[in-house]
């Protein structure tokens, strides 16, 4: 199978290039990640992240044939050749398919991704009704692979200021959590022309999310919460 892979060696001081490979696949190779592992057997200098190889850890998010996806759950069957593999767009490249996610995780940490509740803890746990728990569906499943943020044009334009779809989806996950007591502070933090309102509802985030989530909808819910807050 033919592959065209983005190559960048930071020590080589050369410009990035697209390198073509013919990869010999085995019958058991089903996903793009399997092919990448075969490719690394042929050329061990090629660099990429991977861990769980089953769409849970989010390590191997990359741009596959022009679209962000997880290599481990992108089937090889029927894929257009040559399969073009590139690092996540808009992120600084460290080497080959590995990107620097420092900014991405800084945004994630900025939204306080944990339940804030200073009330005395109950004897066993902070309970939720089934309805309250239901509100977290479509939010808590995010694996922080950054496929959405790196496919978001406003995030390319202001990566240092716009929190991006992944961070905002996580923000909504805690705003929607009935156990959290910091909703007002969270909304106050997000009420910013850059942090939240750079979103143009382009919906690339929803289009490429490998977990089938909708960050665009989560962002709309935050905007609605802000409107209710000001009413």
């Amino acid at each position: 199978m033919r592959f065209r892979v983005f190559r960048f060696d930071p020590d080589g001081h050369a410009r990035p290039v697209m390198q073509d490979f013919d990869v010999r696949l085995e019958a058991s190779d089903r996903m793009v990640l399997d092919a990448l592992v075969r490719l690394k057997e042929q050329d061990d200098s090629i660099t990429f992240r991977r861990s769980c190889r089953e769409g849970v850890c989010g390590s191997d998010a990359m741009n596959i044939n022009g679209r962000n996806a997880l290599a481990c759950i992108t089937p090889l069957e029927g894929i257009k050749q040559p399969v073009t593999l590139a690092p996540l767009p808009g992120f600084p490249v460290i080497r080959d398919l590995v990107v620097d996610m420092t900014q991405f995780f800084a945004h994630y940490h900025s939204i306080k991704p944990y339940v804030v509740n200073d009330e005395p803890p109950p004897e066993r746990e902070r309970l939720q009704s089934p309805e309250e728990r239901e509100k977290l569906n479509g939010l808590y499943e995010c694996i922080l692979c950054a496929a959405c943020s790196s496919f978001c044009p406003p995030y390319w334009w202001n990566p240092d200021k716009f929190i991006g779809p992944a961070g905002l989806l996580q923000a909504q996950r805690f705003i929607a959590d009935s156990r959290d007591r910091a909703t007002a502070e969270r909304l106050e933090f997000l009420d910013d022309v850059f942090k939240l309102y750079r979103c143009r509802t382009i919906m690339n985030c929803t289009e490429v999310c490998p977990k089938g989530l909708s960050p665009a909808r989560a962002i709309e819910h935050i905007k609605i919460a802000l409107l209710r807050d000001s009413a």
């Binding site: 406003p154 334009w157 202001n158 009420d191 910013d192 022309v193 850059f194 939240l196 309102y197 750079r198 143009r200 905007k223 802000l226 409107l227 000001s230």
Partner: protein
Amino acid sequence: MKLFSGRRAFVLQRLSALVLLAYFTAGALRLALGPPVTYVQWQTWSAQPLAAAALLVLVAALLGHVWVGIRDVVLDYVHSPGLRLAVLGAAAAGLAFLASWTVLILVAHVNSA
């Protein structure tokens, strides 16, 4: 509400869009379903104070909508704070000029009737 909250612009953009939608729908329906409007009829109608006020609301909604659009494009693409301020200032001045000019035209038009 914070000065750079973004919420105000978000609300202005949506409210002005609703106003524009209502006006353009009404205008399109009038043109499509009503008898043809002559220049004299248009002049007479628009010289009435209520009609002039309605036109002023339309222009205000249009300029408000344009302002949010320009502001968004500048915030996205112009990253130097000084240049951003200059471009936003120029856009605001241009839109303020258009708003003032519209008011002067409408006032003169109503007074001449």
